[in-house]
């Protein structure tokens, strides 16, 4: 009896010690769930969610904020977040904007006065230029976040939809219409199964 209790106590002490050691020695850096959430967010860094970037919003979600505040991510991001966090997928909160097509900022270079305001506003350093020199957007790095448009004193920045290139194009999903959905053809010459 005593030996059994002692054995169990000893085992408990050993494993407790091991677990305690592991908890300190192998403690993960930062909050891993924030990284997971951050990976699902579109990284537009647009701030439409009310946070200054995707990572701050990921931190806020980890702390319990609603998952439906990301318009660029849209339904796909919301459902991915709902899957990850095991919460209900809510419809997109219209307060923070609506899901729009992807755009890219384009500076009308003839009108640019070189004030560097847009450069300071860009969250991903995708605008190139210097004071009193013309600026331009590195289209490949632009996330289409819109943040450079408002600071521009001469309104020379346009958000234009990203054009589909030949290499980026792919076929659409075949139409949902199936034979049983189709109204009977007036001159049905073939013997249809329906």
């Amino acid at each position: 009896m005593i030996s059994a209790v002692l054995t169990l106590l000893l085992l408990a002490a050993i494993f407790g010690g091991l677990l305690g050691f592991a908890a300190i020695r192998f403690k993960p850096e930062g909050n891993p769930i924030v990284d997971d959430i951050d990976n699902l967010l579109p990284q537009t860094q647009c701030g439409q969610c009310g946070h200054p970037g995707c990572r701050p919003y990921a931190t806020a979600i980890a702390a319990g904020e609603a998952i439906n505040k990301c318009p660029p991510g849209g339904e796909a991001t919301i459902s991915a977040l709902a899957d990850l966090l095991d919460v209900e997928a809510l419809p997109l909160d219209a307060e923070h904007g609506v899901e729009a097509i992807r755009t890219v900022a384009v500076i009308r270079e003839a009108e640019c006065i070189g004030c560097t305001k847009c450069i300071q506003a860009c969250p991903v350093d995708a605008i190139l230029g210097a004071a009193k020199l013309m600026h331009t957007v590195i289209a490949a790095e632009c996330t289409g976040c819109d943040l450079c448009v408002e600071p521009c004193p001469v309104d020379c920045i346009d958000m234009v939809p990203v054009a589909t290139t030949l290499r980026a194009w792919h076929v659409d999903k075949p139409g949902a219409l199936i034979a049983t959905d189709k109204p009977p053809a007036p001159n049905a010459s073939h013997k249809s199964a329906a």
């Binding site: 951050d38 350093d125 790095e141 996330t143 030949l166 999903k173 075949p174 199936i178 034979a179 049983t180």
Partner: protein, 601 residues
Amino acid sequence: MIGSQYIKLVDTGSIPGGIHPEQHKIESNSSPITTLPLPTTLWLPLAMHLGTPAETTVQIGDRVLKGELIAAAKGLVSANIHAPTSGTIQAIEPHAFAHESGFVQPAIALDSDGLDQWRMLEPWSDWRSRGIEAVIERIRLGGVTGLGGAGFPTDVKYRNSQAVIHTLLINAAECEPYITADDRLMRERADDILRGATICQWLLGAKTILIGIEDNKPEAIAAFRAAAEQLQVPIELAIVPTKYPSGGEKQLIQLVLGAEVPQGGLPSDLGIVCQNVGTLAQVYRTVELDEPLISRVTTVTGAAVSQPGNYQVLIGTPIEVLLAHAGVQMAKADRVIMGGPMMGFVVPDLLAPVVKSTNCLLVPTKKELPPALPDNPCIRCGLCEQACPVSLLPQQMLWSAKNRQLDSALLHSLNDCIECGACAYVCPSRIPLVQYYRYAKGEIRQENEENVSAERARVRFENRQKRLDREQVEKEAKRQSRAAAAAKALAAKTAAEGKAGSETNALIAATLERVAAKKIATNTGPVGLSLSELAAVAQASQEKFAKAAGRLTEAETNAPEMVAALKKATGKLEEKYLSSEAAYQTALAAVEIAAADTPKS
């Protein structure tokens, strides 16, 4: 011929699945290849090969000779484009392009001058002495791409120095119905193909040249035998049964060598390089004769074509010109398909030109190839699974693709699907399975690209954040160091002044003294009262004094006993009145002095 020392027949294996659609080869393979007359304008799209689009090297108005470079390859996987005939560059602008999307693509328009004048050619009969690098470079300069369909730049296949290649596999299967371009080429130019194969074999250091050919092309097999005898090139012949899609690169390898190319791998992993017959003939023409890839053999066939057959077409010839020459009755035609009936696509605009990978133009009537009917629901018959040459589960992939479950589609090896269309061919519910797979593949590709760009944006955002933090810290540090420097400078200045300026100090002391004296003078009388208040106080005490004086005179007549007390009180009040009056006067004077002083100070 049997038992010749140059020809060896090898046994073949088999592939799973496959289908046996109607061949329809006889319509176009019975007449020799005819050369199309010179078209007036050629359009050469810059993105007609797989990989990076080429960059133009000519200007509008330039005169070019046949075979001159007009657009140069950009990057490793890209191909040069040459003028298919002599003439003038008419335009460089977006033009109709043979692609399902219907997008226009940048292209060079070349107006033919009718002379068809070659540039200076530099034939190499001694290519072996030029070295492997030089020959590969010549293939690259010649703009040679795979002519079988995908349009992959050929030179890239020979730059892979890691793999040890033992076999050059010549893809002569041409399994898709209707297409006979390779068949005719083999019958007429088997010697060119074998010469090209010799060059490629030498480049690769391969031991054998193995020809994989379907048994429905006996004339082509005979042509190969004759050419091998004539050129004294040892070849191995693998005659495979006619079955679609035995001409797929990986399927042919499995058929003739019994080995499967690993998932995500290349044929070179098995020591094989596979090359289409048309490409090999072009390699010969490019390396030995210095002719770049400027024309190809294209089949024009279908029930709406009055003279179906094979045509030697210049790259860039508008499709409608070729169709008109082949006698297509557009009224009968339902649509124009580029490629075969299984894997081809509908050409959205007939102004689009023939490109390097155009092996066939199929113009069927509505009766011959009826347009797609609406599909029925999947009945889970499993025929697709039996037809799949890659042993995939088409049904499962259909569910995944339909519901956009991309992970599940990948789990079912969607990326190994060769899009041959065998599953859709056998489907009793007419489900366009391949279209679903291509949709899902496109979505996967798009998602991957988005992930990559999101990752890049994340890194850039984090770097910027770090930079801003660092700048903040630096700014703060700078501010603090500046503040410290300022305090030090001030202290130094004060100390210096303390030593040097005793006179100034005395002056300051005198001024302070004067100000203090003035303050004392101003503040005489009731402390802290203003001028008007002082006046009021003086007024009140004067009134009180006047009243008391009145009462005193009254008392002197009526009540003599009160006089002494009243005299004392009146005296006190008089004293008070005089002092307050004095205070008011002093204050008034002080204010006047101050008023007089103000402009000076």
